[in-house]
């Protein structure tokens, strides 16, 4: 019997303006029914191109060579009519549905019903019954069929996407980054759902992601792609336990196992940090450099109902300390950070900086903001695309009227952000830089003001795995060398384990657990912290095994 999906010598070349770019070459992979194959790789490794080529969804500029056998039939030589019939009914795709894979102006029920109407002759009443049944399978109430995508949360959209994918009972599902941009708990739910489908119906699943720990938890076999080639392939646990290729090791190290002493204060970087020096335990009683006391932020939603985004929080960030603020999306982390920086006026309570109350007047806030700087999640949108690196870094000092040699100030900040030699970066524009370099420019812009606290909101979420470790190492080095305090907001517990001294766990606007990293992550006391830890892919593995 032929495998469900077999790729033979698959190669994809994009031709853009006379240039030929080889995106994928010599890929040989096979998948049996009821099996899960994981494909890991960074952006640009060709993993998504492989997924799209299976249903011939690549743009016209792509040339495909080799064979793609779906149930023994070569997709590359199919006629259009046959191809359209195969699409979705034999193989369907789960895109990163949380973002843009659903049509924003059509109701989700309609979007789920569309392939059913297209591939079957079911009467309208049965189609609607089927949509209800599908929503039920992904644990969504039938009323959600009338919703538009923007009315759903990220996890709900991903469930809709999955309901849509199984609508025509395909034998193969290609899931391209199905959990990226979802927080751990929702990620665990989505992965469990996919696992159930594989187990119950003998569907073949190709799971594509940049997060190796997700694959390790869910896939029997893993293929690692790097620059268009499969550099390593084998059983999941073997690839994870004994990675042979250097790139696999880098990917595996990027997402550390919480509790692994090797990765404590040691984010994955090509330039390893010296071991954490012994430090005097910070005085737990001393007030922080940045401190919140009974801070409350209350909003009204558009129905006029009161939402307690931050419901009475006490938090200290001390000098020479990195605090990780963790929690699910919607837990109020970002609102808390905005309130700490004076970007959001608190409803009640107060913020202290260096023992003094942070003023609410705009003049007073200006002086405070020089001390407390913000680093945002997406460096691409945080930088003005028309400003050179020099302009971007010099802007802060200009606003704050800092005297002295501007050029040397900028060079110093760039060097501190490890953009070396700094001179070569001055005249470059954001689009000429890689994602990691852009985030360094954002950090340099913050450092140029010589702040004493950085507040970083998901600083590595939008970055590739290999860059992630480098940025985390930079934050850790800044703390060690400049005694720079940092509050890092993240939904990623591995990050906390990598660099933080203390963790604050936020749940529904309140801090449910605050303490040293080892204590909170290894001996969690609050139920919510426990459920966060259980949702980690490493914790997931056991649950998934049971499902398969």
């Amino acid at each position: 019997m032929s495998p469900l999906l077999e790729l033979r010598d698959l190669g994809v070349t994009y031709s853009t303006g006379g240039d030929e770019v080889e995106a994928v070459r010599d890929v040989n992979l096979a998948l049996e029914p009821g099996e899960t194959l994981g494909i890991a790789g960074e952006s640009g490794s060709g993993k998504s191109t492989v997924a799209l080529s299976v249903l011939r969804l690549l743009p016209k500029s792509a040339k495909v060579s080799g064979e793609i056998l779906l149930d023994g039939e070569d997709v590359t030589t199919m006629r259009w009519g046959r191809l359209r019939a195969v699409r979705w009914s034999s193989a369907s795709v789960v895109f990163q549905g949380a973002m843009h894979a659903l049509n924003p102006v059509r109701r989700v029920g309609e979007q789920i019903a569309e392939p059913i109407r297209l591939h079957t002759d079911l009467p309208e009443a049965k189609v609607r019954a089927r949509v209800t049944e599908l929503l039920d399978q992904v644990d969504l109430p039938p009323a959600k069929a009338r919703s538009y995508p923007h009315e759903l949360s990220g996890g709900q959209k991903q469930r809709v996407m999955i309901a849509m994918a199984v609508a025509c009972e395909p034998r193969l599902i290609l899931a391209d980054e199905p959990t990226t941009a979802l927080d751990v708990i929702v990620q665990a739910q989505v992965l469990a759902l996919l696992g159930e489908l594989v187990a119950e119906r003998g569907i073949g699943l190709v799971l594509i992601t940049h997060d190796l720990s997700v694959l390790a938890a869910t896939c029997r076999r893993i293929a690692v792609m790097y620059r268009g080639e499969v550099v390593e392939e084998g059983p999941g646990d073997e690839v994870m336990a004994r990675p042979r290729h250097e790139h696999t090791r880098a990917l595996a190290a990027a997402f550390p196992t919480v509790g692994d002493p090797a990765s404590r204060f040691a984010p994955a970087t090509t330039n390893p940090l010296p071991p954490e020096p012994d430090r005097a335990a910070p005085d737990a009683e001393a007030p922080g450099l940045l401190a919140a006391r009974d801070l409350k932020v209350t909003f009204r939603d558009r129905h006029g109902e009161v939402v307690h985004a931050v419901a009475g929080v006490d938090l200290d960030v001390r000098r020479d300390e990195i605090v990780a603020l963790v929690g699910q999306s919607g837990s109020g982390k970002t609102t808390l950070a905005r309130a700490l920086l004076g970007l959001q006026r608190p409803t009640a309570g107060s913020v202290f900086y260096d023992g003094r109350l942070v003023p609410t007047s705009s003049a007073g806030l200006k002086e405070y903001r020089r001390q407390a700087q913000l680093v945002l999640q997406d460096p691409t949108s945080a930088l003005n695309p028309r400003h050179t690196v020099y302009e971007a870094v010099a802007e802060g000092p200009r606003i704050h009227g800092i005297t002295g040699d501007e050029r040397s100030l900028v060079l110093e900040a760039l060097t501190a952000a490890e953009l070396r030699p700094a001179e070569t970066y001055l005249s470059r524009l954001p689009h000429e830089l890689s994602g990691g370099q852009r985030q360094r420019v954002v950090i340099a812009g913050a450092l140029a003001l010589r702040p004493s606290v950085l507040v970083a909101d998901e600083p590595v979420t939008s970055l590739d795995a290999s860059v992630r470790g480098e940025i985390l190492a930079l934050l850790l080095r800044l703390r060690r060398e400049l005694a720079l305090a940092a509050l890092v907001i993240t939904h990623d517990l591995g990050l906390a384990w990598n660099i933080a001294d203390r963790v604050a766990v936020m749940y529904r606007g309140e801090l449910v657990e605050v303490g040293p990293v080892e204590q909170v992550l290894l001996e969690p006391r609050h139920e919510y912290t426990k459920s966060l830890l259980a949702a980690l892919p490493t914790g997931m593995a056991r649950a998934f095994e049971r499902g398969v």
Binding site: R84, W88, H100, N103, P104, R106, E114, Y148, H150, R302
Partner: protein
């Protein structure tokens, strides 16, 4: 959104009711904004035409000998010697009761004159706009879907050329090219035939040339906006989803791409509809079409200030009303605006 299906769960009903009140609030807010703009236009209309230099009485009596007594009498009748606040009060109260003043040149109520001329313009502009929108969007969608194809290049080029051609020149060219096949002036034949159908055909026959001229010049903008907004949607991931479902290419376009690309185009259509009314001055002058454009042209030659002021208020008002309609329609087309 307002009619709820029977037997729906209570939660859904609540949502619907909320949607209902928020719709009412939205409409009220937008209408309030439009009303404020109208008041502003009213004030501006008054001030603008008081600042134009020149003595209206001198203009009116330009061609005939007048005694100083007659001039003074005229001044008093027109009220130009009254203090400004008094004039404004008269103007504002008049406007509220539908009185736009009296034309200096024709000595007739401005409101009546505009009323007579409004419908021919609406007929001309309405027909041309509906055709231009249909043609422009159809071409724009085709051009974007097959970007850089011969179709795209040829039609973008032709549309841009026509867009840059002066209207009067194109009008005259069409007149010469058709060699008397269509009437060159007016809206009705002097010897008007009997019967509704015959009269309608007669108007349509007169309408052809001015309408084609206007259409040729304005369709380009609808085409280019549709083309660029569809191009923007072309890279969207939901289109890949639609293709992956096995939809035919034209269904992907019709069901998924176009409804999203339509949004920016709608705003333009309505905004332009308001503007085109004022943009017909040239076409109406060339073809002596008895509409607002021709009236404006005549009023400018005077200058007939009350008439110009009346036309200004009506045209500016129509832009505001159309803009309001666009915003309301936008809400129907885009569920995301409903939520905001």
């Amino acid at each position: 959104m307002t009619t709820s299906t029977t037997g729906g769960p209570p939660a859904a009903d609540l949502d619907e009711r909320r949607a209902g009140t928020s719709t009412a609030r939205f409409v009220a807010g937008k209408a309030g904004g439009a009303l404020a703009s109208l008041v502003f236009v009213m004030v501006l209309g008054f001030l603008l035409f008081r600042m134009i230099p020149g003595d209206p009485v001198a203009t009116m009596t330009r061609d005939r000998p007048t005694s100083p007594e007659q001039l003074a009498q005229l001044r008093e009748r027109l009220g130009v010697d009254e203090p400004l606040w008094r004039q404004f009060l008269d103007y504002a109260l008049g406007l509220l009761s539908g009185d736009l003043g009296t034309s200096y040149l024709y000595n007739r109520p401005v409101a009546t004159m505009i009323g007579e001329r409004l419908w021919p313009t609406v007929l001309l502009v309405g027909t041309a706009t509906v055709l231009a929108v249909a043609l422009g969007m159809w071409l724009g969608i085709r051009a974007a879907w097959k970007r850089d194809s011969a179709f795209d290049r040829v039609h973008t080029g032709v549309a841009l050329t026509l867009w840059s051609v002066p209207q009067f020149w194109l009008g005259l060219l069409l007149l010469i090219a058709t060699q008397g096949l269509f009437p060159s002036r007016g809206m009705r034949s002097p010897d008007l035939p009997e019967g509704f159908l015959a009269q309608t055909l007669d108007v349509a026959w007169h309408l052809t040339l001015p309408c084609v001229t206007l259409l040729a010049v304005i369709y380009a903008q609808y085409m280019l906006v549709m083309r660029s907004s569809l191009l923007e949607e072309m890279g969207s991931e939901y289109l890949t989803t639609a293709r992956a479902k096995g939809l035919r290419d034209d269904l992907v376009r019709r069901r998924h791409a176009v409804p999203n690309a339509l949004l920016p185009a709608v705003t333009l259509v309505f905004l332009q509809f308001g503007m085109v009314v004022s943009g017909t001055v040239t076409v109406e002058a060339v073809f002596s079409w008895p509409g607002l454009g021709l009236l404006t042209y005549d009023a400018l030659r005077g200058p007939d200030l009350p008439l110009l002021q009346g036309v200004f208020v009506v045209l500016a008002g129509s832009v505001i009303v159309m803009n309001l309609l666009a915003e309301l329609l936008y809400r129907v087309l885009d569920p995301r605006v409903r939520a905001a």
